[in-house]
Amino acid sequence: MESASVPLPHGAGGHAADSHHHGPPEANQSSRIDRQTLGILLFIVSEVMLFGAFFASYFFLRVVVNPTAWPPKPFELPVGVAGMNTAILVSSSFTIHYALEAIRKGNKQGMKLGLVLTWLLGLTFLFVQINEYVHIGFSARLDSFGSIFYSLTGLHGAHVFAGLMLLTFATIRAFRGHFDKDAEKHLGVEVPGIYWHFVDIMWIIVFATVYIL
């Protein structure tokens, strides 16, 4: 996530504090992809593998151990509520896309609207998720099922939270007028947006595995 917020280190041709030198030379750009985008994509690879570890555990606990009831009786997962929550999160992918398309055309109001909507949808998702935890009736200590249920959904929830932080930063900067039409001037919207899409897609996989499968 940190990589998302690193501005170009050698931008703006700043003045060196060092008296005997004029500052670093501009690095050669040897690839069409910019650093921030590549950085967030690699970070997402690493995140996918973290989820992979927990999915591996999920299938060990469910398939290899093969318990008689999954989830253990008498508990049931609230598929309806989670399905509605899925719809909320998926629609937030469209709003962040709208924000990005808006700033690409130079429409700053549209970008602000898109960012705020996304932020609110993300927050709603988290709120519903926590509400679900409160009313679900079992804890992480309910056999291995409870452990992996809370780990997978909780790990995802943590990522929604991280994504929300990135969106918060982007929104603050959007309202302070930092973003503009040029590609390198709205990386601060684009990079968190990529991360947000990842969070969405990951939720669809988590939802499909934990609630439906």
Partner: protein, 633 residues
């Protein structure tokens, strides 16, 4: 005085750590009081009043030392200050103790920090050998012994071998590809500062009630889920070390892909760059698995979840699968950068182009692909699915092929080369080929299921791991340190002391670890403080060699410190190498280059008249464009 606490630095770091720890402590006490629980809980696996501050204090430290200052400004929408480079480069030794964004400073910070942990881990090894010199228990009890070998391995793996390679590459890699710095200099600084935190957590576990973690560096569940508090320190330390290496790997990948100098095509990159490219791919994709495994153990310990609790539907073997899915690729994370160093050293000191340059690079890619398919060969006796054994055996044997390609290519490079050993680096590189081959062959032996069953958990395993990790990785680290010492410090080291260090290390390594193969085949179990009297003589001999091996490292330490301070000034290119880092002064200028160099040929074209790798600013203005380079393309 107040100002000192406002500036990024050690005062603010100490303050931040204390405040964060106090916050964590207060949080636990208040929440537990509200929930009607006793504020202090000292069950083996509990101690929330220690764990929560332990999680929070590192963040307070990082915040205080100044890792996040710039990002926080950015996050809260303040105008980004024009880059002032005030935290770039070191002007006095004090700058090495600050957050610095210069890859050269960070490289040296990495190397010095990791060597501190190397010596601490080595001290643990000396204590282990002292205890094992005689049958029975003399020096330390069985519990302390378990802690010692666990801490030894954890320090050597997570705090020495993996990060020291990151340190060496941090220093030379941007120079090699003609980049002014790494792609994300502040992330680079953060990666470094997470490292001492991991080390302090590992060492701090000695202070925990119940002693340091003692489930081995593998921390198998359910041994680890029921272990005393120290195990939680291990779980957390691994998270910090892992986050550090993921961030560095990501940084290397972005740097290599987007910041190469003009003309530096993939097929003109030095093999060290290739090696770090492939290692970083492994780190980014595999390290999250150990994070996952340690999180699960941590949850089982602290939250009493049931990932590995047999009675509650947990699966014990799943820990080993998830753990080794990282930790087998990790052995390649610990050797591939070394392969890169050896390629540089051998080609330079044999004055010959690398034999089969492209195949060398492709072999690296082959190794990383295969390394994901061999993890369960660590589990032949664990009671896993029996159908998985033979496929894992086959892939394990297969991975010897790309490794063999590399060995034979080095031999091909040496063949008819003008080999000279005026540098200790070359001695270590030559010794590495032999020692690593022995370790590699015992690895193939271990890949065979029947033999592996015979020697599982014996000293044969200890011998194998040390032949590849000490005789392999650590030899390459020494080769790298000697090779780039003139570049990093601007001074020459003492070649005579280097030779003493080399021969002592070589003889010490062989004397220590060769006999371990034999006693292992005879059935001496590893990770046990006491052993049958029949192994007494061999163990005494092993301990003597081990002490010599330990003592001779002090020669290295002395040589490095004294030469850094008083050694004769080094030229820009003492080894007459071709790659770009040797074309700048020693040590390099603060921003590496005045102008980005242009690359016009392969990096290893020794002995080819008129061949050139790169053209620096101000020289050779007229370059024939499109000149085909003879080798390495």
């Amino acid at each position: 005085m107040v100002a000192a606490f406002q500036r990024p630095g050690w005062y603010r770091a100490a303050l931040g750590a204390v405040i964060a720890a106090a916050l964590g402590f207060g949080l636990v006490v208040v929440l537990r009081e509200i929930s009607g629980l006793s504020a202090f809980q000292s069950e083996q696996t509990g101690y929330p009043q220690v764990i929560v501050p332990l999680i929070m204090a590192p963040f307070g430290f990082l915040l205080g030392i100044g890792c996040f200052d710039y990002w926080l400004r950015w996050a809260f929408g303040l105008p980004t200050i024009p880059e002032d480079h005030s935290s770039h480069g070191a002007h006095s030794w004090k700058d090495y103790f600050k957050v610095n964004t210069d890859h050269k400073v960070i490289g040296i910070q990495y190397i010095c920090t990791t060597f501190v942990f190397f010596f601490i881990g080595g001290l643990a090894a000396m204590l282990i050998r002292a205890e094992l010199a005689q049958p029975g228990t003399q020096i330390v009890g069985a519990g302390t012994f378990n802690s010692l070998f666990s801490v030894h391995a954890a320090l050597m793996i997570f705090l020495f071998v993996i990060p020291v390679f990151a340190g060496i590459a941090n220093y030379v890699l941007p120079l090699m590809i003609g980049a002014p710095d790494m792609a994300f200099p502040r992330l680079n600084a953060l990666s470094f500062w997470m490292l001492p935190i991991a080390g302090l957590l590992f060492l701090g576990s000695f202070l925990a009630p119940g002693g340091a973690f003692d489930a081995g560096w593998t921390g198998y569940a359910p041994l680890s889920t029921g272990a005393p508090l120290g195990q939680s320190f291990f779980n957390l330390g691994v998270q910090f070390a892992g986050a550090s290496s993921i961030a560095t790997a990501l940084n290397f990948l972005v740097t290599i892909i987007t910041m190469r100098a003009p003309g530096m095509t993939f097929w003109r990159m030095p093999l060290l760059v290739w090696a770090n490219l492939s290692t970083s791919l492994l780190v980014v994709a595999a390290t999250p698995f150990i994070a996952g495994a340690q999180f699960m153990v941590f949850f089982d310990r602290i939250l009493h979840t049931n990932f590995f609790q047999f009675g509650a539907g947990g699966d014990v073997i799943s820990y080993q699968h998830i753990f080794w899915f990282y930790s087998h690729p990790a052995v390649y994370i610990m050797i591939l950068p070394g392969f890169g160093i050896i390629s540089e050293v051998i080609s330079t000191h044999a004055r010959k182009p690398i034999f089969g340059y492209r195949l060398m690079a492709l072999a690296l890619i082959g190794i990383i692909v295969l390394s994901y398919s061999v993890w369960a060969h660590h589990m032949f006796v664990a009671g896993m699915f029996s159908w998985l054994r033979v496929p894992m055996m086959l892939t394990t044997l297969l991975i010897a092929v790309p490794t063999g390609i590399k060995i034979f290519s080095w031999l091909g490079t040496l063949y008819f080369g003008k080999i000279h050993t005026k540098s200790t680096a070359m001695l270590f590189a030559l010794a590495f080929i032999v020692t690593f081959t022995i370790g590699g062959i015992s690895g193939v032996m271990l890949g065979m299921v029947p033999f592996d069953i015979h020697v599982s958990d014996t000293y044969f395993i200890v011998a194998h791991i040390h032949f590849v990790l000490f005789g392999g990785s650590v030899f390459t680290i020494f080769a790298g340190i000697y090779h780039w010492f003139p570049k990093m410090t601007g001074r020459m080291y003492d070649e005579k002391l280097g030779r003493v260090h080399f021969w002592g290390t070589l003889i010490g390594t062989w004397g220590t670890f060769i006999p371990m193969h034999w006693i292992g085949m005879d059935g001496m179990p590893r990770r046990v403080a006491d052993y049958a009297a029949q192994f007494g003589n061999w163990n005494l001999l092993i301990s003597c060699f081990a002490f010599m091996l330990g003592a001779v490292q002090l020669v290295f330490l002395y040589n490095m410190i004294v030469s850094w301070r008083f050694g004769p000034k080094a030229e820009a290119n003492p080894w007459r190498a071709n790659s770009i880092e040797w074309l700048v002064s020693s040590p390099p200028p603060i921003y590496n280059f005045d102008e980005i160099p242009r690359v016009v040929g392969g990096p290893y074209e020794f002995g080819i008249p008129g061949a050139q790798h790169a053209i620096m600013a101000g020289e050779g203005a007229e370059v024939p464009t499109g000149e085909p380079s003879v080798v390495g393309t």
